[in-house]
């Protein structure tokens, strides 16, 4: 699977095409795109900044993809995570999974997102009318990750 950590935007269609173009062995493509929302609870978000740990971010995303590839019969995939300043409506993260069957593609994409949330070294800072603050990690995210434990 391809892993990219980048400040620039990504193009879902181009990424799908790079994975699937000319191939006839794929039965299912699942994509997940995470976007910056204009509201977080009651706070109106003006901008969001994503900080990351260069090197380790890529390493962790690759490890998560490897685990997913060992667990599900995937035919390929892509994970792109952006960093830097982002506006509401901007794309943050893209996960694409390919498989002969839909269950594997769905489950692997969800698994990658759940693990990525708690295990990839990225941190969100939100800028609101009341100032800036670091987003708190959610217990819920740990629980979602834990359901994949064997």
């Amino acid at each position: 699977m391809k892993v990219l950590v980048q400040d620039q935007d990504f193009d879902i269609a181009a990424e799908i095409n790079e994975l699937c173009g000319g191939r006839t062995d794929i039965g299912a493509i699942v994509t997940f795109t995470g976007l910056v929302r204009d509201f977080h609870g009651d706070n109106k978000i003006r901008q969001m900044t994503l900080e990351h740990f260069p090197g380790m971010a890529e390493k962790q995303l690759e490890a998560i993809c490897k685990t997913a590839s060992e667990r599900w019969p995937l035919q390929g995939g892509t994970v792109i995570h952006r960093y830097g300043p982002l506006d509401p409506g901007n794309q943050i993260v893209l996960v694409i999974t390919l498989s002969a069957h839909r269950e594997a593609a769905f489950e692997a994409a969800e698994f990658i997102m759940d693990w990525l949330k708690t295990d990839a070294p990225f941190w969100k800072k939100e800028q609101t009318a009341e100032g800036t603050h670091w987003v708190e990690a959610k217990t819920e995210d740990d629980q979602r990750k834990d359901r994949w434990k064997i």
Binding site: G34, H52, F53, K117, F122, W123, W134, A137
Partner: protein
């Protein structure tokens, strides 16, 4: 030893990395944190709450009782919130 700080911890401490000569009596992450906290209030604030700290040694997540030695790359940061 190279130490990196990210996000809230980086802001509390006031810089993103530093080189530390590890004293001989320090052998685990917890000892390193105590040692850093002697450097000032900014470190004490950064490391106040164990539950809000994650640590990686040589880009691998470890617990606070993990060994550290000179030459290691250690990173401190809050729980992750990417995705």
């Amino acid at each position: 030893m190279e130490i990196f700080y990210f996000a809230r911890i980086r802001e509390d401490i006031g810089h993103s990395s530093e080189t530390v000569n590890l004293p001989e009596n320090i052998s685990i992450v917890n000892g390193l944190i105590e040692y850093l906290c002697e450097r000032g209030e900014n470190y004490q604030t950064a490391f106040k709450n164990d539950a809000a700290i994650r640590v990686a040694v040589n880009q691998t997540y470890v617990n606070f009782d993990h060994p550290v030695q000179d030459g290691d790359e250690v990173a401190f940061f809050p729980p992750m919130t990417g995705g």
